[in-house]
Symmetry: C2
Subunit: 327 residues, 2 copies
DNA sequence: GTGAAAGCGCTAACAA
DNA sequence: TTGTTAGCGCTTTCAC
């Protein structure tokens, strides 16, 4: 059957404690360490992580709870987090909630049962509301989205600013009948909406904004309705990469060309955005920086559990492409 | 401090064993069960998974080791696997190796230490070669790629057939100077290469095939070289979605139009493929089916550990689009 | 149906 | 530096 620490100890002629010290880089003489290491190799011993964690009371595991792995933003984020964790010799449990609060709750419970060291978490708006009443035995760092004020650390894009710059850009290019599709599950989409509407108002323009499920199909449908309806917009904005894609698909299906018939712009510099037509104007997010910042906040919080909650805000970058060129 | 099973037992006036039975849906009278459940709620008790796993000797965890989460094929696969696991009340630990054998080895070791119930795994070609000498205490199901013959269950696209159909399609459309870029890390790319070359030979054509890193930048560079070199191909094929994207980007950068100057086709029906120009001809993989089949194989193997290794092969679907239309 | 007792595999505390 | 001992929090006998 499975070989345990005692078998290794016997094989090396030492006590289990010494084997344990070798495993944990504890103080062991070189000669014993070598004997133990050979014994480990010979027996094919693999330490049992459950036992280690139970005894040592720390899991060296961080939970990453994202809302949609089908969204390249979150896959990029995951990589950055995993990378940082790897360097810190920690494991990452990756949880995908599909913007479903029930799954979020399930995963939060799981994280508690796993006794994780910390969690990095992009909550839905609905779950963020309940987050205020919940207590966790580990620090939680929110990414991409906000939660109850002052309760958790967080890393965010400056969404209002970025959306405002998008609005300014469209207004400056002479577009006037501007519509926007925003996700209906995140604080982030709300913030982008607010920044967008406010900036347009500053130019004396009224935004035609609506909230949709942050998914390609839903956005495509909503965009098709906009295009078929009366008073067709001359520009449409999407609040994330999936929504933006839906808009572009709807345009294509309806046979509209991109800057000429309707201008398009949005968030997330996804690979396809510079491939379609003359490219789609987007706000690029510093995704890797967001992931790294979240990990830093988490580690700092572990050092200093009682400091005040901090929110790091990063700036987006406007990439102007053909889809908003003015005729 | 953290509340344990004993605290709950005390609060409910029962023994720890009874609380444990409630947790595990064991035989408990309704009245006691209710008392225990209230006590759990009142105390905010969360069972310690490490302790449960240690004692019960099963982790209810499956490991999913994929080679590139930046590849939509693998994110789609992950969803299918996670979905099936969720229904089976199992957890998934998602591991991304970035086609790096060192990371694969690290994760395989981790899976052993976690005492996972089973693993679903897309190995690099290099790691697949060493897989024959490795022994695991859990079943391994290979996905998308093959390993040592007869050693593990597996789920695969019928790659030779699919690549052959792509070749036939191009030949039938009258293309003659056909080049192909294939990934250099997977058995799958090899198989596609073989099927492609063989099918073209059947039409009396010689394929100009080369192997590149399965990533956008590498493919873009290789494609640019093909386009700039002598005897420019009239069609280029990419062996997966990332490579295909690189090819399309190179064409765009060089100012070539898609069916007219050079035809393009490849694997994976990614979202952008029907958006660029008149669409890119692709082989679509039944990704969700692949994931489900892998989970089925895994569960069946757990039931019947000694049966012969099985390989499930699924057919791809050719989607003809504008990028291979003949002038 | 319920409780008492043993022990999963390891590491931490203490002693030597 | 090394070994001995105890016990992390739970589930699983085994009695009743």
């Amino acid at each position: 059957m499975a070989v345990g620490i005692k078998d290794v100890a016997r094989a090396a002629g030492v006590s289990p404690a010494t084997v344990s010290r070798v495993l944990g880089n504890g103080p062991v003489s070189t000669s014993l360490r070598e004997r133990v290491e050979t014994a480990i190799r010979l027996t094919g011993y693999r330490p049992n992580l459950s036992a280690r964690r139970l005894r040592s009371q720390h899991s060296r595991t961080i939970g990453l709870i994202v809302s949609d792995l089908g969204n390249p933003f979150f896959t990029a984020l995951s990589r950055a987090v995993e990378d940082a964790a790897y360097r810190a010799e920690m494991r990452v449990v990756l949880c995908n909630t599909d913007e479903n609060p029930a799954r979020e709750a399930m995963y939060l419970r799981l994280m508690q049962e796993e006794r994780v060291t910390g969690v990095i978490y992009a909550p839905t708006r609905r779950m963020a509301a309940s987050l205020g009443q919940m207590d966790f035995d580990f620090p939680v760092v929110l990414v991409d989205r906000t939660g109850p004020v002052g309760r958790h650390d967080g890393v965010l894009l400056d969404n209002r600013d970025a959306a405002g710059r998008l609005a300014d850009h469209l207004a400056a290019r002479g577009f006037r009948r501007i519509a926007g599709l925003f996700g209906n599950t995140s604080s982030t989409a709300e913030d982008r909406h607010a920044g967008f509407v406010a900036a347009l108002a500053g130019h004396g323009l009224t935004a035609r904004a609506s909230f949709v499920a942050p998914a390609v199909a839903a956005a495509e449908e909503a965009a098709a309705a906009l295009l078929a309806g009366p008073d067709r917009p001359d520009a449409i904005v999407g609040s994330n990469g999936l929504i933006l894609l839906g808009i572009v698909k709807a345009l294509k299906a309806a046979g509209f060309a991109m800057p000429t018939d309707v201008a398009v712009a949005g968030f997330d510099n996804e690979v396809w955005t510079d491939l379609v037509g003359d490219g789609v104007t987007v706000i690029e997010q510093p995704v890797a920086d967001i992931g790294r910042a979240a990990m830093s906040l988490l580690f700092e919080r572990l050092q200093n559990p009682d400091g005040a909650a901090r929110t790091v805000m990063l700036a987006g970058r406007l990439i102007e492409r053909g889809s908003t060129r003015r005729a």
